[in-house]
């Protein structure tokens, strides 16, 4: 591996970590929306984790 490979690896890792976190926020937000909808329809939400 040369310097450019290490540089590419470092910045790829940075963006991968940031996008993985954004994806997790988006998934948590979608779960909360679903639970809110269930509650509005008068159903008991299936899960209440996290």
């Amino acid at each position: 591996m040369n310097g450019l490979d290490f540089l590419a690896a470092a910045y790829s890792a940075i963006w991968l970590i940031i996008f993985a976190y954004l994806l997790s926020l988006w998934r948590r937000s979608a779960r909360l929306e679903r639970e809110l909808d269930e509650l509005r329809r008068g159903e008991q939400p299936s899960t209440r984790a996290g």
């Binding site: 310097g3 540089l7 470092a10």
Partner: protein, 233 residues
């Protein structure tokens, strides 16, 4: 209040994108490569910027946790949780990019240097904090224990900063270097570092605001669930 803060909130992702583009241009195109380390030194800009923001985030965890313990303010608790989570994210970036930079420069991926070791300790403390928050759910007592842990954990931050002076490790002190050939000699390098820091600060603020909004909905949902449960029986 909400209507006044909304334009800024909507603008934040766009400002973050613009600052990121400027930082990427400065880091990869405008700034020269360091003489001894070569192109791999460019990892430095985001590695250091991420560390600055993680430290600032953990300092905010301590301040917000103190406020929560003193006043029981749920907004302060949400601010502490959001800063801890995003601070962990940025510490992970520091701990991942550090070894990738160290391998070609030091010849090893990892060494138990005081600064590196204490950064791992910091990461572990806030991993424990987040686990406590997750396992505790809405439990008031566990929330207070977590707040105490959030304050104690932040005490590691000044230790990490002064560790280079206190113990002679091998981690470079680029910003504090006094040798004529060391440090950021070219002004473009300093501008690249400042703009990278600004871009990461905007990203940090945006992620914290998203996480706080999510937590607010989660708290509201928990409250509605509590109210709805007796009616369902």
């Amino acid at each position: 209040m909400a209507s006044r803060s909304r334009p800024l909130r909507d603008l934040l992702p766009w400002l973050t994108c613009l600052a990121m583009l400027a930082a990427i241009y400065l880091v990869f195109v405008a700034a020269p490569s360091e003489r001894e380390q070569g192109v791999v030194q460019r990892i430095f800009y985001f590695h250091v910027g991420a560390a600055w923001m993680a430290f600032a985030g953990f300092a905010l965890v301590a301040i917000a946790s103190l406020w929560f313990l003193a006043r029981g303010d749920r907004r302060a608790d949400r601010l502490a949780l959001a800063n801890a989570e995003v601070g962990m994210l940025f510490t992970t970036i520091v701990l991942v990019t550090g070894p990738i930079w160290a391998r070609p420069v030091w010849g090893v991926w990892w060494t138990w240097d005081p600064r590196l070791t204490m950064t791992v300790v910091l990461w572990t403390i806030y991993a424990a904090y987040l686990m406590l928050r997750r396992l505790g759910g809405g439990d008031e007592a566990l929330g207070r224990y977590a707040a105490v842990l959030g304050i104690v954990g932040a005490l590691d931050v000044p230790l990490i900063i002064v560790s280079i002076r206190l113990w002679r490790g091998i981690h470079p002190a680029v910003m504090l270097a006094k040798e004529p050939d060391a440090g950021l000699k070219d002004p473009t390098m300093k501008i690249a570092l400042l703009v990278s820091g600004l871009a990461l600060a905007l990203l940090f603020t945006w992620l914290v605001s998203l996480r706080m909004r999510l937590q607010k909905v989660d708290d509201e949902l928990a409250r509605l669930n509590l109210e709805a449960t007796p009616r369902m029986r």
